[in-house]
């Protein structure tokens, strides 16, 4: 039935198959096996090394991306379209050799991103090397520094803002001074950072650009330079600091009462946690972020807290590592401007820093800690609003880190990056006196609110005149509180009304909210609630006789299961039942124009 095996039909392909299998396996174990890259630098130059490019006409270094040329007696990188474009000086520094490496940089075009590579373990990739370079962010020039790890990903060790214009075309000297265990950075002779730990020792040095044309000149690599200037003054910005774990046990909390606690068992009001990114679920007494991929996936607590405070979070990693906390947030729906402390992806480093107004994270430091693993850990931040300390499992990691743009009252949050994290407990302790912060401003977002809202010098006006309800969230939320506002109704619109809505489902979403407002130009006061679809159901009302055109105070005292209404400091209704325990607070206008002023919120039952 079938043909007899022949050379062409059977033996040749079988032989080729065996050969293919052999090549595949040989290739796997030779060409594609994980390469050992340590000490791969071919020494071509030796220290001391000086180059001003007055003689050489072609680039004498090993290029790794970019368009490097010698122009006008300078080393110039011309491409503005790539990151991490490098050239390495093949000078092999011994691992225990202190040295200094400096150059002058001149910004030519693009977005200033020139800098230095040092202690590079090879000259053919960025893998396992240190980097310091300029970086423009939100119109500000920064010096960022860190290292490219075993997987070539950049791990920031810190950053410092510089008082240099981002487009300053004048030459600036950048120097890195490498010691036995750490390095220091100088810009124009001024210290910017010191004591930054070395991850890789010895190797080559080089130059790097990111999305910029940069000219390098007057290169010096010298061990004498390091010896002469080995006494490094304290950095200008103590914020830029990295430390190992000192064997110091944190002092217990004193003079503080618990002002916010949530064990995620339902008693703490889990609806006060507002996920802003990621996939957050409350399961079996844990608040979990379950997306294993993504950075800074966060949920924020909508109750404000004030300084001083101690924020303690207990959590465990179910997959990956990257759990942590947020504090000093100005609003409970955005992490921009807030501080963050969390594990980095490797699980054995704790990093801290802050998000700028554009949401870009700026590291203030990092430290090695015990590997996170799957065990529960307690992460604590203690802060008085000026500086903060970080503790992991009761051990001090860092102290005295500045709080950038402190906001009080502010908000806290939980975060996870590249990991599935289960949070067991959150406890905020602070001064009893400050436990019920008074918030005297409403953060109206006209883009989110319905109607036509204008905020001018603390006075909030809803200008739309159509006969319908308009809602604007204040950015405030709570469980039990007293909220007060002065309302001025128009004297030429007998239909106009205004009031307060609370326990809303979303910041500007009236669903599930309870509402109290003046109606009919001040001739009545009524209240009721909205259902999940935003449909209003009235629950009661009383006649009033207030004068339009003059401010009238409306004050609500909200308890766990009821609320009271005061008009001009006189209680008019008491113990109106409420169905929902917490939520967002907003202002409400029916027709207009209506003005609101002196919005204040006092937390506490």
């Amino acid at each position: 039935m079938l043909a007899r095996p022949t050379f062409r039909s059977t033996w040749l392909p079988l032989g080729l198959g065996a050969l293919a299998l052999l090549v595949l396996n040989l290739g796997l174990y030779t060409r594609l096996a994980t390469q050992q890259v340590a000490s791969a630098v071919m020494q071509q130059f030796s220290m001391p090394y000086y180059e001003d490019f007055s003689v050489v006409s072609s680039v004498p270094y090993e290029e790794y991306g970019g368009d490097w040329e010698i122009r006008d007696e300078m080393l110039v990188q011309l491409s503005t379209s790539g990151f991490d474009l490098m050239t390495f000086v093949p000078v092999a520094v011994a691992p225990d050799q202190p040295y200094a490496f400096e150059t002058t940089l001149r910004y030519l075009g693009g977005s200033m991103g020139g800098g230095l590579m040092f202690n590079a373990q090879q000259t053919t990739s960025r893998q396992q090397s240190h980097m310091v370079r300029f970086n423009v962010d939100a119109g500000q020039l920064w010096l960022i520094y860190g290292y490219f790890g075993d997987d070539s990903d950049f791990v920031g060790q810190g950053s410092a803002s510089l008082e240099i214009a981002p487009d300053d075309a004048n030459p600036h000297q950048l120097r890195v001074q490498v010691g036995a265990d750490g390095y220091a950075l100088f810009v124009d002779g001024r210290p910017v950072a010191s004591g930054v730990p070395l991850v890789y020792r010895g190797g080559a040095v080089g130059f790097v650009t990111a999305a910029s044309q940069v000219a390098f000149d007057d290169i010096r690599i010298d061990s004498e330079l390091a010896a002469v200037e080995s006494v490094v003054p304290a950095p200008v910005e103590p914020a830029v600091e990295t430390s190992d774990i000192p064997p110091e046990v944190a002092a217990p909390f004193v003079t503080e009462d618990v002002v916010l606690a949530d064990a995620f068992d339902g008693s703490g009001g889990d609806s006060l946690w507002r996920p802003i990114s990621g996939d957050w679920r409350t399961e079996a007494g844990q608040f979990m972020q379950v997306l294993p991929q993504g950075y800074d996936l966060s949920a924020l607590h909508t109750q404000p807290v004030t300084y001083p405070l101690s924020l303690q979070v207990r959590f465990s990693h179910l997959q990956g590592a990257g759990g942590g906390l947020l504090f000093n947030l100005s609003t409970p729906d955005n992490k921009n401007g807030g501080h963050m402390v969390r594990y980095v992806d490797t699980g054995d480093v704790m990093a801290w820093g802050y998000f700028d107004a554009a949401g870009v994270f700026n590291g203030q430091g990092s430290a090695s800690v015990a590997p996170a693993g799957a065990a529960p850990h307690t992460l604590t931040v203690r802060t008085d609003g000026d500086t903060y300390a970080v503790m992991v499992d009761g051990v001090m990691v860092v102290d005295g880190v500045p709080v950038v743009d402190a906001v009080t009252p502010g908000y806290i949050g939980l975060t996870a990056s590249q990991s599935v994290v289960a949070f067991d407990e959150v406890v905020v302790a602070g001064d009893t006196a400050a436990a019920s912060p008074q918030v005297s401003t409403a953060n109206i977002d006209a883009a989110l609110a319905s109607g036509d809202w204008v905020v001018d010098n603390g006075v909030i006006t809803q200008q739309a005149t159509e006969s319908t309800d308009y809602v604007a969230g204040t950015g405030l939320a709570g469980e039990q509180f007293t909220v007060s506002v002065d309302i001025k109704l128009p004297d030429d619109n007998p239909d106009a009304g205004a009031g307060i809505i609370f326990h809303m489902d979303g910041r500007d979403d009236r669903s599930m909210g309870h509402m109290v407002r003046f109606g009919s130009g001040g001739q009545e006061l009524f209240w009721g609630h909205y259902d999940a679809a935003g449909i209003f159901t009235g629950e009661g009302g009383i006649p009033l006789n207030i004068i339009p055109g003059e401010p009238q105070n409306l004050l609500l005292v909200v308890y766990e299961d009821r609320f009271d209404i005061q008009v001009n400091r006189q209680t008019v209704v008491e113990a109106i039942p409420i169905e929902r325990g917490s939520g967002w607070i907003g202002l409400l206008s029916f027709s207009g124009p209506v003005t609101f002023s002196n919005v204040s919120l006092q937390l506490g039952g």
Binding site: M1, V23, L24, L32, S125, G320
Partner: protein, 412 residues
């Protein structure tokens, strides 16, 4: 003047004769795939080049440019290309919880690594992708001609080369390589050249995880060649035929059993290097993939898609694309089963269902290599309206998606 004319005449006539010969049906197996290759590569190369230089690109950390000084090459290294390039340059790595290169099978980077020292990794990657694409189109033409006719074969190769995500055939991705070995394996199996099918199948199984599916496909073809099919499973004669085949044709069966060695070699390597023979599966979670089964995943993504606001454009558009590819393949698989047999249909279904068990992401790219679907489209394309519709829709979308891919917008 006369002298020039005299000298030109033989050249032009020679070219004319060459064109005429090339247009003979005997050479269709080469000219039709070559034409599809040249036309579609022209579209993607011009589209990619213009997209890169004319549209302000997104910049930022992680949005790399391997060779910013050569736009023609640089545009073909995006997204997962970095994994292949780093495998070639630095070898495999595996870090638990992080997106690791072990997810990418070794054949393509291994072949690139042989050329990389001479032309650079990026150029070698692009070159290899194109060589295998042309080879895949030729084998696909011959396979379709074997199953149907030359006209269907001509349409088939054009459809696959112009498919909206066919720009991946030019990129530093493994799509071309995999398609080449999958189609050639099937071709040799249908020609009952079992040992050749075994060799090409072995390489197919070392180029992608679903490559091992080809083992079952070739096995089914071997059974069919010996009178045993899923339709005759209840007949005693079929089992008698199978028994006889096991006695007389065991050598070819052994050759077919070489196919999983490609996968097993890689698993052994992973075990010895990283202690995890299925590290390619373990690392999938770092991409947000989790094994939930096809229906849970599909239902989740369909629900999410339907909750979007189509009019406002607030939808996960590429989920829509992936789901369209998924359902189209399942739908067409019914016809594949009836016209081409169980082996083709199972290949099509399993090729799309396996990746969908952990997520629908990139299904429109995985659809590229489900060649039986394109064979059926090639047959149906004899209706002129369908042929023109497919050509226009595919070509337009190919240009758009190429532009997006080049500019770091995730397509598949």
């Amino acid at each position: 003047m006369q002298a020039v004319h005299t000298r030109l005449t033989p050249v032009t006539s020679r070219v004319h004769r060459l064109v005429e010969r090339a247009n003979q049906p005997d050479y269709y197996w080469l000219t039709r795939p070559l034409l599809a290759f040249l036309i579609t590569r022209l579209i993607v190369f011009i589209g990619a080049y213009l997209a890169e230089i004319a549209i302000p690109g997104i910049t930022g950390e992680g949005l790399y440019h391997v060779n910013p000084n050569n736009v023609f090459l640089d545009v073909w290294a995006r997204w997962d290309s970095a994994f292949y390039i780093r495998i070639v340059e630095d070898g495999y790595w595996f870090v638990l919880g992080q997106q690791s290169s072990v997810a990418f099978f070794p054949l393509y980077p291994l072949i690139v690594s042989f050329l990389a020292p001479y032309m650079g990794t990026l150029a070698a990657g692009v070159f290899i992708s194109h060589v295998f694409l042309l080879g895949a189109l030729i084998f696909l033409y011959k396979l379709t001609e074997l199953e149907f006719d030359a006209a269907s074969a001509g349409r088939t190769v054009f459809y696959v080369a112009a498919f909206p995500t066919a720009f991946f055939f030019s990129a530093v991705y493994t799509e071309s390589t995999f398609l080449f070995f999958a189609v050639s394996t099937m071709y040799f199996a249908r020609r009952q050249m079992w040992a050749w099918a075994g060799v090409f199948g072995l390489l197919c199984a070392s180029s992608r995880i679903v490559g091992v599916v080809i083992w079952g496909v070739v096995g089914l073809e071997w059974l069919r060649a010996h009178g045993w099919t899923l339709g005759t499973i209840h007949k005693r004669e079929a089992w008698m035929n199978l028994f006889r085949a096991l006695c007389t044709d065991w050598l070819n069966l052994a050759a077919i059993c070489m196919i999983p060695l490609g996968l097993l070699s890689y698993m052994l390597f992973l075990y010895l290097q990283f202690g995890d023979p299925v590290a390619f599966s373990t690392t999938q979670s770092a991409w947000g993939r989790e094994m939930l089964g096809p229906w849970t995943i599909i239902w989740r993504d369909v629900s999410n898609l339907l909750q979007g606001d189509f009019l406002a454009g607030d939808i996960w558009w590429h989920v829509g694309l992936d789901l369209s590819a998924y359902f189209a393949i399942l739908f067409i698989s019914v016809s594949i089963w009836r016209r081409l047999g169980a082996s083709y249909a199972l290949y099509a279904i399993i090729s799309i269902v396996i990746p969908s068990m952990s997520g629908t992401g990139s299904l429109s790219r995985y659809a590229l290599v489900v060649f039986p679907v394109f064979m059926m489209l090639g047959v149906w394309g004899r209706r002129q309206w369908l042929d023109r519709t497919l050509i226009i829709v595919f070509s337009v979308l190919l240009g758009i998606f190429t532009t997006m891919f080049v500019n770091w917008i995730f397509v598949a």
